[in-house]
């Protein structure tokens, strides 16, 4: 039972991170019908940029809430700018081109970002300092939660609730949904579609940036090519939840994280990836448009 509860905690932690990254895939897909394959590499870039910001600005070390918040804000802003540039340079010129051109461009952009990380920070693993968060450990009847895990769970919940409210309750959020349904009709409402797409890239990239930083703080070791692994898992999560569907990405991320953790806990972590794809296949057999996705099939 302890193992079970422990793996639930671990699964929700990594699942929250998958969910944050999956939101970036799903929002871009929802509005542009494009898989932003470079998104995972933005997550990796965030971890490296955040590490550099932390070590250069707060070289004396020591945990301070202000230091950590500054690192998160700075990094999210930088990655958001990179995300906007990515859209301008790699996707906007191909908006009316055949779908395959945009896919190739996305894959190419991902490689450019990945190789840039390698050129700037080198091919070797970098290690996050252990003192960003206090090393406090909470033991609840044998189930252990670290302070970092708690922060991940709380922060990602807050961000996801905020995003949900933004999309569903605000004028801009409604406009985002309108653009996702029909771009021409949205233009006839006076909605600037380019501006909405920019907002999507800002939000998606910033959420990915937060995930990237948490990945660095939680796992500590970061490599230039880690974007593939996290990107792939988050992409699978987005598809499981129903790509294009925002609650679907949240649900898919948490579900995949839990599933991975339980497989690792009861079978072996070596099998986690195999089971991930088995889960994907099973979900797609029974719900081809994902668990919460319904309107996707007609759009593809």
């Amino acid at each position: 039972m302890d193992i079970f509860l422990q793996q639930i905690v671990n699964g929700l932690t990594i699942g929250s991170l998958y969910a944050l990254v999956a939101l970036g895939y799903t929002m871009v897909y929802g509005v542009m019908k494009l898989i932003n394959f470079a998104h995972g590499d933005l997550v990796a870039l965030s971890a490296f940029a955040g590490l550099t910001i932390y070590t250069s600005i707060f070289a004396d070390g020591g945990t301070s809430i202000i230091a950590v918040i500054t690192v998160f804000m700075f990094t999210a802003a930088i990655i958001a700018v990179v995300g906007v540039l990515l859209e301008r340079l790699a996707y906007r010129p191909l908006r009316t081109a055949p779908r395959l051109s945009a896919v190739v461009s996305a894959l190419g952009a991902g490689l450019v970002i990945q190789n840039s990380i390698m050129l700037i920070w080198g091919p070797n693993m970098k290690i996050f300092p252990s003192d960003l968060f206090p090393s406090t450990i909470y033991d609840i009847n044998g189930v252990v939660i670290t302070f970092t895990q708690l922060m991940i769970l709380i922060f990602s919940s807050v961000l996801m609730i905020a995003l949900y409210l933004f999309i569903n309750k605000t004028k801009i959020g409604t406009a985002i949904r309108a653009v996702a349904i029909d771009q021409d009709a949205a233009k006839l409402m006076g909605i600037n579609v380019n501006k909405i797409i920019m907002i999507i890239f800002i939000i998606g990239s910033a959420l990915g940036a937060v995930a990237g930083l948490f990945i660095g703080i939680y796992y500590r070791g970061i490599t230039f090519d880690m974007g593939w692994m996290y990107g792939l898992n988050a992409f699978v999560a987005a598809i499981i939840g129903g790509i294009g569907n925002i609650p679907g990405a949240m649900f898919g991320g948490l579900m995949l994280g839990l599933f991975n953790a339980l497989i690792s806990g009861y079978i072996s972590s070596a099998w986690a990836e195999t089971f991930t794809f088995m889960l994907l296949i099973v979900v797609l057999i029974f719900r081809p448009t994902g668990i919460l996705g319904e309107k996707v099939a007609e759009k593809v």
Binding site: K171, T174, D184, K187, L188, M189
Partner: protein, 241 residues
């Protein structure tokens, strides 16, 4: 005189889809407060003309003036803010948004929430108020058309463009739609309407244009067009006597 001033003027407009020339040099105008209709067979280029006027398509040649300004190269979303609203062919309501959210999107360009216009729309199209929490995609075809029109007037346009508002609707619903359009026009909104239902459109309109294969072949007051034998045969279903 202000009310005879020209609101929309299209001059020698050409529009192509790749190598296909859909509009081959048309000119037309709409005065403030008028209702003007464009008639024409399937594929004549009516929708293409309207989409070019509202900025969704770009012309290869010619000019479009709206409210004394050249809007030929202005993007569609900016044109809405200048007072033009286009209810597109096939309604194009946002299916997974509620009726109310669709109407709010219609007022996207306005700074403040416009409860007055919303109340007025609910008055002339009462079905929409009953269904305001319902998803637009679950409405019947007629209700969706009412929503498309309501959504288009939420921005308080000077010019309302309607592309086949009666398409696919039962006659009793068509009557309701035309009544609503008349009501909107009576408040001073200028209307440019494309219709398959030529008779109903000419009854509503002050003037009309007939478009054939990308060119305007006839124009005149509604009365003139209704009495023209050529128009009667081609568009009003009357046989030669």
């Amino acid at each position: 005189m202000v009310d005879h001033e020209i609101l929309l003027e299209v001059k020698d407009l050409h529009v192509s889809y790749g190598a296909i020339k859909a509009i081959k040099g048309i000119s037309l105008y709409v005065k403030r407060g008028e209702v003007v209709t464009i008639l024409g067979a399937n594929g004549a280029g009516k929708t293409t003309t309207l989409r070019t006027i509202s900025g969704l398509l770009k012309s290869t040649d010619g000019h479009i003036y709206f409210d004394k300004e050249d809007i030929t190269t202005v993007p569609a979303h900016d044109i809405v803010g200048r007072g033009m609203s286009h209810s597109p062919e096939g309604r194009k309501v946002f299916g997974t948004l509620s009726v109310e959210e669709n109407l709010h999107m219609g007022a996207y360009t306005l700074k403040t929430h416009d409860e007055e216009t919303l109340g007025w729309i609910y008055k002339i199209l009462p079905r929409l108020e009953e269904r305001k929490k319902q998803l637009a995609g679950t409405l019947s075809g007629g209700e969706q058309q009412m929503l498309a029109i309501g959504r288009a007037i939420m921005s308080k346009p000077k010019l309302l463009i309607l592309d086949e508002p009666s398409l696919g609707l039962a006659p009793v619903l068509v009557k309701g739609i035309f009544k609503a359009i008349k009501e909107i026009s009576s408040t001073g909104v200028t209307v440019l309407i494309v219709e398959q239902n030529a008779k109903a459109a000419l009854k509503l309109a002050d003037r009309g244009y007939v478009l054939e294969l990308g060119k305007i072949t006839h124009e005149g007051t509604s009365e003139e067009l209704l009495n023209s034998t050529v128009i009667q045969e081609a568009y009003l279903g009357k046989k030669k006597k």
